[in-house]
């Protein structure tokens, strides 16, 4: 199994992408998609990516739902800031250093993507030596609040999944 099909999850998603692209479930397209998926996953294995272990897969749907809710909420917040209806309080953007406890490369990638995809926060830099993430926040109240938001809301749950 591992030699013939090194990354079953990647192969399955490649097959899914192919079937979505051609929009058919005919035997021909499934066969071609399966061949492409096997070839793709073996090509990936040749690149020897770091191994990932997905523990507690059951929490992934809940996490994705929370990401969607957060995206909608911060879309509203950022739209208000841009259109200048954020109240009389003077808004200040700035950088925040977030010290992390997570070391799994896939977990860090997922965290960075979640934070960047959410309007209002962008991951600017990551320092592997100190395991510190540099974040730019559009509406920075204070750094400590954001450290707590990132750690409690996302990092803990991603650590449950990836480590």
């Amino acid at each position: 199994m591992t030699r013939w099909l090194p990354h079953p999850l990647v192969a399955a998603s490649l097959l899914g992408l192919w079937l979505l692209l051609v929009e058919s479930l005919s035997p021909g397209s499934i066969l071609l998609g399966a061949a492409l998926a096997v070839a793709g996953s073996r090509a990936l294995a040749a690149l020897t990516p770091p191994t990932a272990r997905l523990r507690r897969f059951s929490t992934v749907p809940g996490l994705l739902l929370d990401v969607a809710v957060e995206v909608v909420r911060s879309n509203n917040a950022v739209a208000r800031i841009i259109l200048g209806a954020a109240g009389t309080r003077i808004r200040q953007s700035g950088f925040a250093f977030i010290p992390l406890d997570m070391h799994s490369p896939y977990g860090l990638a997922a965290l960075a993507c979640i934070l960047t995809a959410t309007p209002g926060t962008v991951v600017v830099d990551y320092d592997a030596a100190g395991n510190v993430m540099l974040l730019h926040v559009l509406d920075l109240v204070d750094e400590e609040t954001w450290v707590r938001i990132v750690k409690d809301k996302w990092e803990q749950r991603l650590m449950d999944i990836f480590e």
Partner: protein, 121 residues
């Protein structure tokens, strides 16, 4: 618009609302791109268009073509997946490049590479 004449009203209304919401969010993002003061603030603006902006339009398109063709159209999921996966990556690459350039020029706007937080560890 003859093809849409036989579309039921209860599907035309949500499609129209989603379209207008998505376009309005994309426009807000673009206005932000114009109005915000510094590069690091402007980076936040396109995320409006890349998340809910294109998301609403994709949802409207899925609804519309599914009802029109009376079969489930999932093509848009593919575009949504690409956009969701690629936009954060490009934004991170771009801000990283900008940070790199600003640090090389010794800009006061960005924090130095060795911040006090790192040294404390």
């Amino acid at each position: 618009m003859t093809h849409a004449a036989d579309l039921p009203l209860w599907i035309a209304l949500p499609v129209a609302l989603l379209l207008l919401l998505g376009a309005a969010l994309a426009l807000t993002g673009a206005i932000g791109l114009l109005r915000l003061g510094s590069f690091y603030e402007r980076v936040h603006a396109p995320t409006l268009a890349s998340t809910l902006g294109i998301g609403c339009v994709l949802l409207a398109s899925m609804l519309f073509f599914s009802v029109l063709g009376s079969r489930l159209v999932l093509h848009e999921v593919l575009i949504a997946a690409f956009v969701v996966l690629t936009t954060p990556v490009t934004l991170m690459l771009l801000t990283r490049a900008a940070l790199h350039r600003d640090r090389r020029e010794g800009s006061e706007e960005v924090p130095p590479a060795t911040a006090s937080h790192v040294e404390r560890k």
